[in-house]
């Protein structure tokens, strides 16, 4: 793919722990076109957030990323800190999970927004401040000019996440990484915040990678979905394909566990039995313990990610047999 904005090749993230090394992300490869919205879904510990942290150079001190993350032709993993700082916050920005603690409590909201513009775009304090107010207005903070002079504790959770969105989109990034941006928010405002993010993304032509465990959110917003399990890509497809014709047993299990309006009140929600294995390196398919249709060699042979159609890939021995 020559027109890709982002091209991740064999990204592996490992953490050194007292009891040994653990692999959080295992040879993940992804491509993203400009303006595209991609969802990464998976349960807790599937490594979905760590992909984003690795890209931003924000891995914990005991974490290490290998492979290649080509963003606009530069490998983010090998970039010296100074050059990485030129990219992040400018062409590449990120929204975090917890808006309550992600803003600096000691700084005025407007100043926190303006700061990035001053550093990256060389704007004066006044210009950057005016831009910040305009952006706050666009994320529908009422009375933005006065609000910009306030501190984070004077904002509600939903408003703080909108401030984070404003901050992330202020520099008109090419790619926005959103790490479960609505998990910490009230259900009633989750949709509102997500729609706002998607809308502004479209306006600025920003591509988005949305990490979530909410398949409903993904269905609404994403062009393409990547299903992650045990740090590996299980299945990747266009959103509608994934919902209509999932092939991987894990994807099917996830979809069966999702409440749907049309089948409401029928027996019980499906569950996937068992829990994800913690730590250790798997030689076969990471899902094998919980898979209901496993084959004898699933535990020993790693299934390759195969193309099923131009926009559909899955890593399962069963699909190879088809």
């Amino acid at each position: 793919m020559t027109d890709s904005l982002l091209s991740i090749r064999d990204l592996t993230v490992r953490f050194r722990l007292p009891q040994g090394e653990t692999t959080a992300v295992d040879r993940v490869s992804l491509d993203l076109a400009p303006g595209e919205v991609m969802g990464i879904v998976g349960e807790s510990g599937s490594g979905k957030s760590q992909i984003l942290y690795a890209m931003m150079g924000l891995l914990a001190a005991n974490g290490r990323a290998e492979g290649q993350v080509l963003f606009q032709g530069q490998d983010l993993l090998t970039l010296p800190p100074r050059d990485l700082d030129r990219v992040r916050g400018d062409a590449l920005s990120m929204i975090f999970q917890d808006p309550m603690t992600s803003l600096n409590p000691y700084m005025r909201v407007g100043d926190q927004l303006a700061e990035g513009l001053i550093v990256h775009k060389g704007l004066s304090k006044a210009q950057a401040g005016a831009e910040a107010v305009r952006m706050l207005d666009r994320v529908r903070i009422p009375d933005a000019a006065a609000r910009a002079r306030r501190y984070p504790h004077e904002f509600s959770g939903g408003m703080r996440q909108r401030v984070m969105i404003a901050m992330a989109l202020l520099a008109k990034p090419k790619l926005l990484l959103a790490d479960e941006p609505t998990t910490a928010l009230d259900v009633t405002i989750q949709a509102q915040v997500l729609d706002l993010m998607a809308e502004l993304g479209r306006e600025t032509g920003t591509a988005i990678i949305l990490v979530t465990h909410d398949l409903g959110v993904v269905a609404r917003l994403c062009d393409r979905v990547v299903v992650l399990y045990g740090g590996r890509v299980m299945e990747e497809a266009r959103a509608e394909t994934l919902y209509d014709a999932p092939v991987h047993p894990y994807t099917r299990g996830l979809l069966a566990a999702m409440p749907r309006l049309e089948t409401a009140l029928t027996p019980r929600l499906g569950t996937i039995p068992g829990t994800p294995r913690s730590g250790g390196t798997v030689s076969g398919c990471p899902f094998v313990d919980r898979c209901e249709v496993r084959l004898p060699h699933c535990a020993t042979e790693r299934p390759a990610l195969r193309d099923l159609s131009p926009f559909h890939r899955a890593a399962c021995h069963l699909t190879g047999a088809q």
Partner: protein
């Protein structure tokens, strides 16, 4: 902000009043008086002396006299140091205590904070190791051990600095200031290090890093405020304690400060002097605590809004 300070001063004044009142009466509960002696003196002489200091009046009248004096900034005559008023004694000793205390707290905060930050940024590195060692040594070894050891090394062996007394130059300041600062360097550096490490883990510091504004800006604008708030909270009472609590230092280094008066006055039942020094120390403690609160309120908008 002005109202905030005003209110704190108002409450501070009441606290001080309560402290002074309590001290006045508790002091009288202690057996003996300023002119109780082993040597017998005739009752007439005793009565005369006590009358001269108004000790023959009922207690409430003495208290009223004392309060009236405080309001006129006159703390009365010392019963022990004849011909000196308490005002004279404080005026002559306070400059020394203040000078030593001021420099000690300046040295302790600068060195302590710097060591703490360096330790937190390069955890388990050389600086961290050295700072940690200094910390343990500074806290574990008491002043009355470090003081004489320093006197022997720098005063007697090397002959670089005077071992005590006051020659009016910076040279006689060095040893007392260093010895007084040492335990505080230790404490402040440990406090700074812990608080810094905690702040570096904050989500908002991660946000700052994600903004690509460079590590310097991330450190100065996004990490230090949060990291130094607990240190500032400690500095208020510590400053008061250092300025006033240098009794040991003044004794070891023979500095003519007011620290020594405190113990002497209590032992000699020098009521006016005890009251004067209590007033002074209490006032200082309250003032420095208010100053700390004001600085914290300036730095932290959440504290500001609470009041």
């Amino acid at each position: 902000m002005l109202r905030f300070v005003g209110r704190r001063l108002w409450y501070g004044a009441w606290t001080l009043a309560a402290l002074v009142t309590l001290t006045f009466f508790v002091m009288r509960l202690a057996p003996g008086g300023p002119f109780s002696r082993n040597r017998k003196i005739s009752p007439e002489v005793q009565a005369n002396i006590e009358a001269a200091f108004h000790l023959d009046e009922p207690l409430w009248q003495q208290f009223a006299r004392f309060v009236w004096g405080v309001l006129r900034l006159d703390l009365g005559p010392s019963t022990r140091h004849r011909d000196y008023s308490v005002n004279d004694l404080i005026a002559s000793g306070l400059p020394y205590s203040l000078t030593i205390g001021f420099w000690a707290i300046v040295v302790a905060s600068l060195v302590g904070v710097a060591l703490g930050i360096a330790g937190a940024l390069r955890r388990n590195g050389m600086t961290d190791y050295v700072a940690g060692t200094v910390g343990v040594v500074g806290i574990a070894i008491p002043i009355f051990v470090i003081g004489p050891v320093m006197q022997v090394i720098f005063g007697l062996r090397l002959g670089w600095l005077p071992i005590g007394g006051w020659d009016g130059t910076w040279r006689s300041l060095v040893l007392p200031v260093v010895v007084l600062a040492l335990p505080n360097i230790a404490y402040i550096s440990r406090l700074t290090r812990a608080s810094m490490i905690e702040t570096l883990r904050e989500n908002y510091v991660r946000t700052a890093r994600a903004k690509g504004i460079g590590w310097r800006r991330t450190l100065w604008r996004h990490t230090l405020t949060g990291a130094l708030l607990p240190v500032i909270a400690y500095l208020g009472p510590a400053t008061a304690a250092i300025i006033t609590g240098s009794i040991l230092i003044e004794t070891i280094f023979a500095v003519p400060g007011i620290g020594r008066h405190f113990v002497d006055a209590a032992l000699n039942r020098d009521y006016p002097l005890v009251m004067g020094i209590t007033l002074l120390y209490g006032g200082m403690l309250i003032l420095f605590n208010i100053a700390t609160d004001v600085v914290r309120a300036i730095l932290d908008p959440r504290i500001r809004n609470e009041r």
